[in-house]
Amino acid sequence: MSTRTLYDKLWESHIVREEGDGTALIYVDRHLVHEVTSPQAYEGLRLAGRKPWRVGSIVATADHNTPTTHWDEGIRDPISRTQVETLDANIAAFGAKAYFPFRDRRQGIVHVIGPESGATLPGMTVVCGDSHTSTHGAFAALAFGIGTSEVEHVLATQCLLMKKSKSMLIRVDGTLPHGVTAKDLVLSIIGRIGTAGGTGHAIEFAGEAVRALSMESRMTMCNMAIEAGARAGMVAVDDTTIDYLKGRPFAPPADTWQRAVERWRTLASDPGAKFDTTHVFDASTIRPQVTWGTSPEMVVSIEDRVPDPDRERNAERREGIARALEYMGLTPNVPVTDIRIDKVFIGSCTNSRIEDLREAAGVVRGRRVAGSVKLAMVVPGSGLVKAQAEAEGLDRTFRDAGFEWREPGCSMCLAMNDDRLEPGERCASTSNRNFEGRQGAGGRTHLVSPSMAAAAAIAGHFVDVRRLY
């Protein structure tokens, strides 16, 4: 048999049928559902008189609209409340394998609770009406975001009609320097290949530096595959994957565990497997990253300066840089370390897991948030992450330093709840998108790692976190 990539293996093992033109009916193992992209799908199902094909595939939670303070008061915004209650009603009517509603102690960001509950397993197809579903690819799953029509399609048929993507290998050799994280690595990759660099591709992250990453760091990388334009990102199975999964509530029980592990061990690209596109990076050259513009590809290292549009020869790009700088209120050629911030957000499906919080707390411990910073907040990715952090005393570390310690949810990553930037406010954020208005109309987002966000909170401006260790 010819050599196959991990993506080939995942794709081929889910083909129910295939047409002559390559359109395939792909079986979906895990369907993650949240309140924003599901109501119209359930309504469609209801109007057509259909039922979910396999209720046991569905894991649902409310995360996008939920408040991060005053849970005792419920959801004050009536429109948000209706959306969350609509999910409650749909799950009550149609069922799910698991539902973690608002205020459940296991509630959280859908891309945090899937892995932490063991609902995301190697070899699965995982879909969700959310582009950051790519996160789950860290488990050698084929995981990608879908639109609401496709959510309805999966509910009704357990399948999706699609064509195979091209394959891309991103191999990262070497070792990440101390103080440089998976977030810096993935931002730097996006800076190099661009936000459309992975369009039409499924990315496999591999190489020595990726092998050395924890599952949570691999999730951070795969999470941002979509920011490079790729619907799916993935990492092969190894001991790190298996160790992480062991004992999780939905992981295989003892009687099938060994069989599952044997099968999972095959989920890696064969030696010599061919990719349509390959990029190679050297981890040892990566430095802490800060985005300066309104697209994740607009990124430089902490040692650099804000770019100068006059130095860009391509007219479209020059205009893009100038427009981004105007929106961001930045002057060309200013050192990144001179950029002062108003708010700090540590959270999101990219960086709200326990290791992220430990990393940030390590920087914060014994220090104080700068007086010029109006708000510094930590939003854990799930109720279980929050409980774990509290058990370790991280909440005290953050609170003592002047951070707010919030309830879990998507929060200010996309500002559908009350957590948002006011026009002109500048934020150091561990989230994934710095688009215009993403964190609030007129808000200015700089994407960074959790330790860099923590360091910026302490200094009041961006600083090289490596100097604080």
Binding site: L25, Q83, C159, R231, P252, R433
Partner: protein, 212 residues
């Protein structure tokens, strides 16, 4: 789904690359549990100078006169001319819903983000890919000729000016083309293979019971 066969319409140009779905329809409007009514908030942050919130009466809003869709010459446009990587970012299908609700039937750009591209086809909205230089030419012509219209013929896979002086062919996936021409519902098509899905599923869950 509304079929798409031949469409002639006014072209509006949106001359910037990497337009993301947050820009197409900002997050505060995603709280709706309906599929319709997003048109008034299409490109909300660019289209109005006041801050948009759900439930506002569009008649009371302050339109931004500089935004292209607010210019009289583009009123009633049904074809949006755009730049590369249009629709990047979030998977929100509210983006094609908003474009369609506003009155767009087709988009023309050199490239689109994958999820957005896919979502368009589910909503009778045809995203046409043309070469960069062809898109450049259309941008130039739209700027010069007020009332610039194009005719899109999906069966023939062509984009043409009214006088026929300019015609570009485009590629489209044959399966998606058939669905769009006929206005077919994907779910109905897939359920014709329900037995195959059941067989596949039964074998899969038998071999890997931990997936159940």
């Amino acid at each position: 789904m509304q079929p798409f066969r031949v469409h002639t319409g006014l072209v509006a140009p949106l001359d910037r690359a990497n337009v993301d779905t947050d820009a197409i329809i900002p997050k505060q409007f995603l709280k709706s549990i309906k599929r319709s009514g997003f048109g008034p908030n299409l490109f909300d942050a660019w289209r109005y100078t006041d801050r948009g919130e759900p439930g506002m009466d569009p008649a009371t809003r302050r339109p931004n006169p500089d935004f292209v869709l607010n210019q009289a010459r583009y009123r009633g446009a049904s074809i949006l001319l755009a730049r590369q990587n249009f629709g990047c970012g979030s998977s929100r299908e509210h983006a094609p819903w908003a474009l369609a609700d506003f009155g767009f039937r087709a988009l023309i750009a050199p490239s689109y983000a994958d999820i957005f591209f896919n979502n368009c086809f589910k909503n009778g909205l045809l995203p046409i890919v043309l070469a960069e230089r062809e898109v450049d030419r259309l941008f130039a012509d739209v700027a010069v000729f007020p009332g610039y219209t194009l005719t899109i013929d999906l069966e023939r896979q062509s984009v043409a000016t009214a006088d026929g002086s300019l015609t570009y062919g485009f590629e489209v996936d044959p399966f998606r083309k058939r669905c769009l021409l006929n206005g077919w519902d994907d779910i109905g098509l897939t359920l014709q293979h329900a037995d195959e899905i059941r067989t596949f599923e039964a074998r899969r869950l038998h071999d890997q019971p931990w997936l159940a």
